[in-house]
């Protein structure tokens, strides 16, 4: 899909929404697969978001400052016998972007849809 400059894409809206839903349940940080599951459950989809689509979108949102990420302590993963996770959390800017996107989508016809944010690395200036 060709991006309208600075407008949140559906996958980006889904990611931010899933992240905030997880936060409301007390899960402040989430990893990629957890997010894919959350989106799948929300949308009632039989198949989870594809690897490439999910992680490319996560990268865009992190660069735009709508998500923050950190790698968990390798010792935690090693203790549980699994690879270490990259953990994401929705920033204040991300929550605002989602709220503005939702309100714009609910606005009467003719209003702009989505929030205009600079998403570096996706052809946006």
């Amino acid at each position: 899909m060709r991006r309208r400059e600075g407008v949140l894409l559906p996958i980006e809206v889904s990611i931010l929404d899933a992240g905030l839903r997880a936060r409301r349940r007390g899960v402040e940080e989430f990893h990629g697969f957890q997010l894919a599951q959350e989106i799948g459950e929300r949308d009632g989809a039989r198949m989870l978001t594809a690897h490439g689509t999910l992680y490319k979108a996560l990268g865009r949102l992190a660069i735009a400052g709508l998500l923050e990420s950190r790698w968990e302590d390798p010792d935690i993963g090693a203790a549980e016998g699994r690879p270490r996770r990259r953990l994401y959390r929705v920033t204040l800017a991300g929550a605002r972007a989602l709220a503005e996107s939702s309100s714009a989508a609910d606005a009467p016809t003719g209003a702009p849809v989505g929030r205009r944010v600079a998403l570096v690395g996706d052809g946006a200036p």
């Binding site: 990893h31 957890q34 490439g52 992680y55």
Partner: protein, 213 residues
């Protein structure tokens, strides 16, 4: 680790090869974690091996266009071509890779269907044919027609952006060549042509709607 996990891991190593070490290692680690988590979740859900392989394989297959776009972006970034006008112009072109994905997937599916068809035909009619040698030659010819035809189809669609005439001839010629090899291919190839036509129209419409600033 299951075969499909190993396969997807190999794909990740392939498309991250030659990238900036930080980008490369982070992407590999992130997908490795995702694969592990999904495999365990499927185990917990008591999914059988085939269902698990399909679930993981589908996520891999549908993400290929974004994997390749991500690689392209990372390479351009590491070359220091961040925001120049030439980069933006090129990225509009790469946006069409998403549109390309569906016909390519359909074409790949068509090859699989055709190969299955060849095998089934061989088994079904082997006794009626004079020798297994002539049967093999016929099968090889079919495969050449199928692969060649589909290669023409995909190449035609790629060319359609800049040379619509040549591209259209290749699409139609490729589809016809592959279709005459076996009736199994007619439906998927017609579908591929229709999807290609729709994709080009959509790509052009999106390009015309894209902001110029």
């Amino acid at each position: 680790m299951t075969t499909i996990e190993q396969f997807v891991g190999a794909w990740v190593r392939l498309y991250t090869a030659g990238l900036d070490p930080v980008d490369r290692d982070e992407r590999r680690a992130e997908i490795a974690s995702d694969l592990w988590e999904q495999a365990r979740a499927l185990e917990d859900a008591s999914a059988n091996r085939q269902a698990a392989a399909v679930a993981i394989g589908a996520r891999w297959l549908l993400g290929i266009p974004d994997d390749l776009l991500w690689r392209t972006e990372r390479r351009r970034k590491s070359r220091g071509q961040g925001n120049d006008p030439e980069r933006r112009r090129t990225m509009v072109g790469f946006g069409n890779a998403r549109v390309l994905a569906l016909p390519v997937i359909v074409a790949v599916a068509a090859v699989v269907v055709a190969l299955v068809g060849v095998v089934v035909d061989n088994i079904q009619y082997a006794e009626q044919r004079e020798s297994i040698v002539s049967n093999s030659v016929l099968a090889s010819l079919w495969v050449v027609l199928i692969v060649g035809g589909i290669a023409g189809l995909v190449l035609g669609f790629v060319l359609m952006r800049r040379q619509p005439g040549v591209g259209a001839v290749l699409v139609v010629g490729g589809a016809a060549t592959a279709s005459i090899s076996t009736y199994w291919l007619i439906v998927p190839l017609v579908l591929a042509v229709v999807v290609s036509w729709y994709g080009v129209r959509r790509a052009r419409r999106m390009a015309s709607e894209a902001p110029t600033a």
